[in-house]
């Protein structure tokens, strides 16, 4: 490269100047008779030409090259640098242009990274706010042992659950909004707010769900919806009932027989049509001591392992059958979570996962409730601090 620059600019100029002087000298020598000038004078002339050449080299090559080098050094040592503006089209000009292009791209990437960091920070805050919506402590219900596990696929999840105690009724539900991220989190928050509000006004899970859907449909876009399964325990009548809104099966373990029932929850997802009155219904779930209810989202059953196999309803039912009769709700849910984790191995979690286990204790037994929202992979033991 350097030889090419010098050839173009410097050596050509030098050669031209030298040739011109030589021609003039020889011409004068010829015209005036040999020798015209002494060797001393010739040495001075040659020396002068050489110094001129060096000056041209310094101005035309060294100075601009150092200008480029200074800015490159500034960039590499993280100091303030300037764009380089040359009019030349030789290699130095190309190098300067390349420097400007690279620094321009770096500036754009830095700007994007800053924006991304800001959005990530805001998402973290939103995620934290959303976690505060999912109850940190479920209300303990006399006669029931409750355990919950929930893990979002992203900072903002689309799985929804809540416990609401109003007079002698306790409502609890699990829901799943289309997709995840910010839009799903917003819909989840809306539903949570509506259900909490309507539970103060209406006395049946059916009416709460119908009214929530009516309001929700007006406010979300046509492609969004939320499936939900809501349970209601009435402590006066000692009756458990449920309303299904296009959600997964209701799983019930029967302690007497060891059988695991999977009941179609029915209905239609919230937000799909304006009036779901004729499509959803509230149904009773008779329970005896030792029976276990399991609610879940499709993130559990549709999770895949490295071979592409789905965990599926059958595996979930098998796990419930295996563990439900052994111990308390916390043990049941941890055991199911361990089996789940063992199955999916290192496969990336693509959807939010939620499990809710409710075990019927004897009448009058003190209620217990544990909620686990740790973000470690299910089945992993949290790092001891």
């Amino acid at each position: 490269m350097f030889m090419t620059v010098l050839t173009k600019k410097f050596y050509v100029h030098l050669t031209g100047v030298f040739a011109a002087i030589l021609i003039v000298f020889l011409g004068l020598e010829y015209l005036k008779g040999w020798p015209l000038v002494s060797w001393d004078l010739l040495t001075v002339i040659v020396g002068g030409v050489f110094l001129t050449a060096l000056l041209v080299y310094y101005v035309d090559f060294v100075v601009p090259f150092n200008a480029v080098l200074d800015q490159v050094k500034a960039l590499l040592s993280n100091r303030r640098y300037k764009k380089i503006y040359f009019q030349r089209t030789d290699e130095l000009g190309i190098f300067a242009h390349f420097f400007n292009e690279v620094t321009g791209s770096l500036e754009k990437v830095t700007e994007d990274l800053e924006k991304s960091r800001k959005v990530s920070g805001e998402l973290q805050i939103a995620g934290q706010l959303q976690k505060e919506l999912i109850p940190i402590q479920a209300p303990s219900i006399e006669g029931f042992d409750i355990a919950v596990k929930n893990r979002s696929a992203e900072e903002l999840g689309g799985d929804n659950l809540d416990f609401i105690k109003v007079k002698d009724s306790t409502y609890f539900y699990v829901g799943d909004v289309t997709g995840h991220g910010v839009p799903a989190a917003i819909v989840m928050t809306m539903v949570n707010t509506l259900i909490n509000a309507y539970s103060e006004i209406y006395e049946t899970a059916y009416e709460i769900v119908v009214q929530t859907n009516r309001r929700l449909k007006k406010r979300i876009r046509a492609t969004m919806f939320m499936s939900m399964l809501m349970m209601k325990w009435n402590s006066s009548t000692k009756k458990m009932s449920f309303v299904g809104c296009g959600h997964e099966y209701l799983i019930v373990y029967r302690a007497k027989t060891g059988a695991v029932e999977a009941t179609v929850s029915g209905g239609i997802a919230l937000g799909m049509i304006a009036d779901i009155r004729k499509i959803v219904k509230e149904q009773d779930v008779p329970l005896e001591t030792g029976d276990v209810i399991v609610l879940y989202t499709d993130g559990v059953t549709e999770a895949r392992n490295m071979k592409g196999e789905m965990f599926g309803l059958d595996r979930l039912k098998e796990a419930v059958a295996l563990y439900a009769g052994q111990s308390d709700a916390q043990f049941i849910i941890q055991s199911i979570a361990k089996d789940f984790s063992k199955f999916v191995e290192e496969h990336v979690q693509e959807d939010d996962v939620t499990l809710l286990v409710v075990k019927k204790l004897g009448d009058g037994a003190e209620g217990r409730a544990v909620i686990d929202q740790k973000q470690e992979r299910w089945g992993e033991v949290p790092v001891q601090k």
């Binding site: 289309t178 919806f225 499936s227 809104c245 296009g246 997802a269 049509i273």
Partner: protein, 117 residues
């Protein structure tokens, strides 16, 4: 997921009261981006009474695409027309059944069953 495919074959039978759309592949967040415009144009331009979606070769549908189906159901209903679903595989059928879409749209086990009605 990027890399999944979805092919649509549209049959506009001028003698019949429907247009038929055969789906082959996966309906997910990636493929719907590629086919959304085409499907919406079909819904908008339908000049028959029914738009039939044949899911016989559909392997997968996600919740976002189910929401899109609902959107088409409503749009066609408003225009006095209807969406028909035929031939869904069992696991696709289960998902659609669970969500409750069959309370809003007619479903047939196969295209032949639909024609025989």
């Amino acid at each position: 997921m990027a890399g999944t495919v979805l092919d649509l074959v549209v049959t506009k039978n001028t003698n019949a009261n429907y247009w038929l759309v055969d789906f082959t592949g996966d309906l997910d967040s990636y493929t719907i981006q590629l086919k959304r415009k085409e499907l919406q144009e079909l819904v908008n331009s339908l000049d028959k009474q029914q738009l039939v979606f044949n899911f016989q070769n559909l392997n997968y549908i996600n919740s976002e695409c189910i929401g899109m189906l609902f959107q088409y159901i409503e749009q066609l209903k408003t225009a006095g027309k209807e969406l028909i679903l035929v031939g869904a595989k069992k696991h696709v059928q289960d998902v659609l059944q669970t969500i409750g879409i069959y309370s809003q749209v007619k479903n047939y086990r196969s295209f032949a069953d639909y024609l025989s009605v």
